[in-house]
Amino acid sequence: MKDSVLIIHPRDNVAVALLAMNAGDTVTANGIEPFKTLDEIPASHKIALRDISIGEEIIKYGETVAVSTQMIKKGQWVHTHNLESKRWKNE
């Protein structure tokens, strides 16, 4: 079966959706157990690979690209509604 997300770096806690997904779709990628999406995920957006607590770093490319502002569950959409920039708070 074709992968539905890309995990860029082994350290990452988010993956990139390779296609638009609906809530309840199965997430597949090399090296992980398949799991279900909890939200609608637009193509090229991020999906949580595991539960992420408030204030925890969002890791993509193996680096910190943001900090979560909410409890994020594995399978949820990760974007500006549940994270903030470490760098520019108002962006």
Binding site: L18, T64, A66, E91
Partner: protein, 386 residues
């Protein structure tokens, strides 16, 4: 087989091409360059819009560094330099910077060599002589530590940071492991990643240079764009799934891979270290490419999502499409389709395919931009002309 071959220059540098470069000191004599180009199509001609009319010290420094860097370029086996006579970058001032290039250089000036037609005739004869002379040089096996490869992205889309730059980053890591040197610039695309890049610096001095470079890039962006500076991360970027400037920038800088940053060099400056190098250069593709070429990059990977066909004089450019749609739409311009990552091709397979292509290009296979003659020379200026 990972064997690579090249032309060894007298100063020890290695060319992966053996071009005769015809270059003007100033735009006023571009017509002479064009005339030589029509008569000697085998030569690489690099007309440009610079050479005079800017008095700031920084612009003059850049002008001489770029012209000198292109004359020194390892892929260039011989140079016909066409001057005018009264320009800032005149051949009298340029010659001390290039006499040690270790290759034949013939110099003509339109004001003292009989005008444009006579200078063209002399330039044509010199170019033909030089082509015959360097034609007998042959390739020998060379080591990876003589290879400098530039990584560039332009005409990016939402997938550039997911497919193309990730694949190019994997090639970068492979190259550094092999002992080669990898360089990338585009400092505006580093904004927001100071905390990431400084941590990867070899030492405190490099970390400080990275911090200063990104701070300057950010200030320049704010000075130039004013209230629109926030558009560095645009609503379109956010629609594409990028949530922060750090995430957007990571998508760009990931093309350099994940290794230690060993040096920061100025625009157009040649690195003295191996491994991963950052260049303090601009985001605009053409200007960035000139800086990276003048640093001595023998080859460039260039990722593009919207489809930029641009090449560079004497430096082969491998075009990596970020999505299958643009690869199919511009098949004659694209060398690699990294959109296959979305279709299930594993990253390591794509990386190996790109390494294989890179080795063939180093050994003489032409890239699409070379075949199509897409080369253009433009470079950075920091002040308006007067």
């Amino acid at each position: 087989m990972n064997d690579i071959t090249g032309y060894i220059r007298k100063n020890g540098s290695v060319g992966i091409r053996n071009h005769v470069l015809i270059i003007p000191t100033v735009s006023c004599v571009n017509g002479v360059i064009n005339r030589i180009s029509r008569e000697v199509p085998e030569a690489v001609c690099a007309p440009h819009a610079h050479g005079c009319g800017r008095g700031g010290l920084r612009d003059i420094e850049i002008l001489f560094r770029i012209l000198s860097g292109l004359v020194h370029h390892p892929n260039v086996g011989g140079v016909v330099l066409i001057g005018l006579g009264c320009e800032v970058s005149n051949t009298t001032w340029l010659l001390p910077l290039i006499h040690d290039a270790g290759k034949p250089i013939e110099v003509f000036n339109v004001q003292t060599d009989g005008g444009s037609i006579e200078t063209s005739r002399k330039g044509i004869a010199a170019a033909r002589r030089m082509l015959a002379d360097i034609g007998c040089q042959s390739r020998v096996t060379v080591l990876w530590d003589k290879i400098l490869i530039a990584m560039e992205c332009g005409g990016s889309d939402a997938m550039s940071g997911v497919t193309a730059n990730v694949a190019i980053g994997a090639v970068s890591d492979w190259l550094v492991e092999k002992g080669a040197t990898v360089i990338f610039g585009e400092n505006t695309e580093m904004i927001g990643t100071t905390h990431i890049l400084t941590r990867r610096a070899k030492d405190e001095q490099v970390a400080e240079q990275i911090e200063q470079m990104i701070t300057r890039a950010e200030k320049l962006t704010q000075d130039v764009m004013g209230e629109r500076a926030s558009l560095v991360i645009s609503p379109g970027n956010m629609d594409g799934g990028m949530s922060t400037i750090a995430e957007k920038s990571m998508g760009c800088i990931f093309k350099g891979g994940t290794t230690t940053i060993n040096q920061v060099v100025d625009y157009g400056q040649a690195p003295s270290e191996h491994g991963l190098i950052l260049q303090d250069g601009p985001g605009y593709d053409g200007d960035s490419m000139a800086g990276l070429a003048a640093s001595g990059s023998q080859l460039m990977f260039f990722s593009t999502g919207r489809g930029n066909p641009v090449g560079f004089p004497a430096m082969p450019v491998i075009k990596v499409a970020s999505n299958t749609k643009i690869y199919e739409a511009m098949k004659d311009d694209m060398d690699v389709n990294s959109g296959v990552l979305v279709e299930g091709r594993p990253l390591n397979q794509l990386r190996d395919q790109m390494i294989d292509l890179m080795i063939r290009v180093i050994n003489g296979e032409n890239t699409k931009a070379e075949v199509n003659g897409m080369e253009v020379l433009t470079f950075m200026t920091v002040q308006p002309p007067f």
